[in-house]
């Protein structure tokens, strides 16, 4: 790594909690439901214009953390800062103009069409005197175009495949036209083709519009391929964070997921690839000799 790259990495990752330009960060954040504490005194900063992925085992608190970043959950102590302002001091609409959230497994009301759904994304930009502007119309068309959903505009959500349905929800979030996009496991229940399709779509979005993306993903290998920065959560605390190639190794997987694995490099992308040990058939091949 060259000196300048090192410097860049340092600026972007190392001292990020001191940076003032982090669009979203938590300060001494504690979260919990009723009496159960899930996150304890967490300081975390999300890098602008990057894709950040939260990884971790089931119940480690990553979804809870994402929810609190989206103002869906009030911290028990501490703060979430959105562009420097306490997110709970802002109005719901104010936040919704800057940050969009797509929760896990959303369900559309029966019979709702794709267009009706995507138009809901414009809600925070409207008031009751001026409910639908040319700008609203343009952004809805654009969101449908960007997600390749134009041909399904008038189709009912129930009649779509899983991948198309997820694209419709993402189109809604895009119509919200925010700088920050949070997604909770956007690829769950999708087949591999559609997982790649959704992640490519988000990668494109980040590339062309510099959208800051924070999402929870379960697939470590896909997370490593698409994330600029990976944050591993364990027991409600950050175990480590950084570029996937810098942090995704045998010891990290062992600690965070309590699983033995072999880390190789993705032959197509060069990003780290985690291959879990375990039972299963073995077929003699050159690749298997590593193990």
């Amino acid at each position: 790594m060259s000196l300048s790259e090192n410097h860049l990495l340092d600026r972007n990752l190392g001292n990020s909690h001191l940076g003032k330009n982090n669009p979203l960060k938590s300060v001494a954040l504690s979260l919990g439901y009723e009496k159960k504490t899930i996150i304890k005194s967490l300081d975390l900063a999300i890098e602008p214009n990057q894709i950040t992925v939260l990884v971790g085992g089931n119940g480690c608190g990553k979804s809870t953390l994402l929810k609190s970043f989206a103002r869906l959950l009030k911290p028990s102590t501490g703060q979430i800062l959105l562009n420097g302002a306490d997110i709970h001091s802002l109005s719901g609409k104010d936040v919704a103009r800057k940050l969009a959230i797509l929760p896990q497994g959303p369900v559309a009301p029966e019979g709702l069409t794709v267009e009706q759904l995507v138009r809901q994304g414009r809600y925070p930009h409207q008031n009751w005197l001026q409910s639908w502007t040319e700008e609203d119309e343009r952004l809805v068309r654009k969101a449908l175009q960007d997600t390749n959903m134009t041909e399904f505009t008038h189709r009912s959500i129930d009649a779509l495949s899983g991948g198309q349905r997820q694209r419709a929800w993402i189109a809604m979030a895009l119509a919200q036209n925010t700088d920050i996009l949070l997604l909770d496991e956007p690829t769950t229940y999708l087949d591999l083709t559609h997982q790649i399709e959704i992640l490519d779509l988000l990668f494109e979005l980040n590339l062309t519009q510099q959208t800051t993306i924070l999402m929870v993903l379960h697939d470590l290998n896909l997370a490593a391929r698409y994330a600029h920065k990976m944050i591993a959560i364990k027991d409600g605390a950050v175990f480590c964070q950084g570029a996937p190639e810098a942090i995704l190794d045998h010891d990290m997987v062992k600690s965070v997921f309590d699983m033995e694995c072999y880390i190789s490099a993705d032959p197509l992308f060069g990003t780290p690839m985690c291959i879990p040990y375990g039972k299963g058939r073995k077929v003699k091949s050159q690749a298997a000799e590593h193990v």
Binding site: L72, G92, K93, I101, P103, Q116
Partner: protein
């Protein structure tokens, strides 16, 4: 694919499938037909030209009296009661995001009934019947408050609201039955007919008393329409889009009470309309609250008017309460709609 009917204006815009517009026009035609039929038919048949003359104030004295004083207020009250109950049901179903909600299931009607029956048994002779609506509305409001308070657990979830509502509803039912059982027979019969729901003997007084409630609750419902649509995406997404979900939920519960309670107060506990009219409406027009509201209201109005017409005509000279026929007409029609949609 279906064609769309769009209106784009700076302050006002919507785009809706053409079938929705046709369905609403057809529904309105049905509404007008039932209205005119109700004015024509009865113990004495009045032909259509005479009805129009009477409506314009140029009929002969006898016809004028039948149309203007007997039939018109009754028809209007039936229409308003149906529309109000249907709107209330739609508001509740949208709020709870569950099609199995209505003022009679969730305990609003139960509260009004219990209060009304108590009034009839204990206060009517002392205070006079005019106070009945006040008691009924207060009972409905109290029941709604109780439901909300008991469902509260750092916020109110739709499911808790429904379950607590069902509990309150059956508790109110017990109170009602107890009071009826403990009352003298004449009071019990009055109470029983009131509970079935009837617009018998309706006059302009009731029409004028119910109208202001609708003039307040309806615009409020339209004002909240966009929020209701967004809220139907689920709590998390709605919050993410900037909707104060809990506040909206309380507002919608209140709205459903001020829609249903006055209607129940003036026409008794007409059941089923609130549940079924929004369902029928959803099968007729596209899914948008601002479109479903007038459609449900029209469906509810038609149902109660038709039920009252049947009650007046079928068993002459008996006048059967409209509430009896609401289910008799509504249920088969609803099942027919479900059946047709299988293909």
């Amino acid at each position: 694919m279906s064609k769309f009917f769009s209106v784009r204006h700076r302050f006002f815009s919507f785009s809706t499938p053409v079938f929705s517009v046709w369905a609403m026009l057809a529904l309105f035609a049905v509404f007008l037909t039932i209205t005119l039929l109700s004015l024509c038919l009865g113990e004495e048949l009045i032909v259509l030209p005479d009805v129009f003359l009477a409506l314009l104030g140029h009929g002969d004295q006898g016809t004028q009296f039948v149309v203007e004083t007997l039939r018109l207020p009754r028809v209007l009250l039936a229409a308003m009661v149906g529309a109000a109950l249907a709107s209330s049901g739609l508001v509740l179903q949208s709020m709870i995001r569950n099609p199995l909600a209505s003022p009679d299931i969730i305990g609003i009607t139960g509260g009004a009934s219990a209060a009304a029956v108590c009034f009839m048994s204990f206060f009517a002779t002392a205070m006079g019947v005019i106070w009945l609506p006040v008691f009924a509305i207060a009972g409905a409001l109290l029941a709604a408050l109780l439901i909300y308070a008991l469902a509260w657990n750092s916020g109110v979830t739709p499911m808790r609201l429904v379950l607590v509502g069902i509990g309150i509803s059956s508790a109110m039912g017990a109170v009602t039955t107890f009071v009826i059982a403990a009352s003298p027979l004449s009071t019990s019969i009055t109470a029983y007919i009131w509970l079935t729901g009837s617009v018998y003997g309706a006059s302009w007084v009731e029409v004028k008393a119910l109208l202001p409630w609708l003039l307040v609750s309806w615009p409020l419902a339209f004002y909240l329409a966009r929020r209701v649509n967004t809220q139907e995406l689920g709590d998390q997404l709605a919050t993410g889009l900037g909707i104060p979900v809990q506040r909206l939920r309380l507002a919608l519960l209140f709205l459903s009470v001020i829609m249903a309670a006055p209607a129940i107060a003036y026409a008794g506990a007409v059941g089923f309309v609130g549940l079924i009219a929004p369902h029928i409406a959803r099968r007729l027009v596209a899914r948008s609250f601002a479109l479903l509201l007038p459609t449900s209201a029209l469906v509810g109005a038609c149902l109660v008017m038709l039920a009252d017409l049947c009650g007046r005509l079928l068993f002459q000279p008996l006048d059967i309460p409209a509430g009896v026929f609401v289910s008799a007409i509504g249920a088969p029609f609803f099942i027919y709609l479900l059946y047709r949609q299988r293909f």
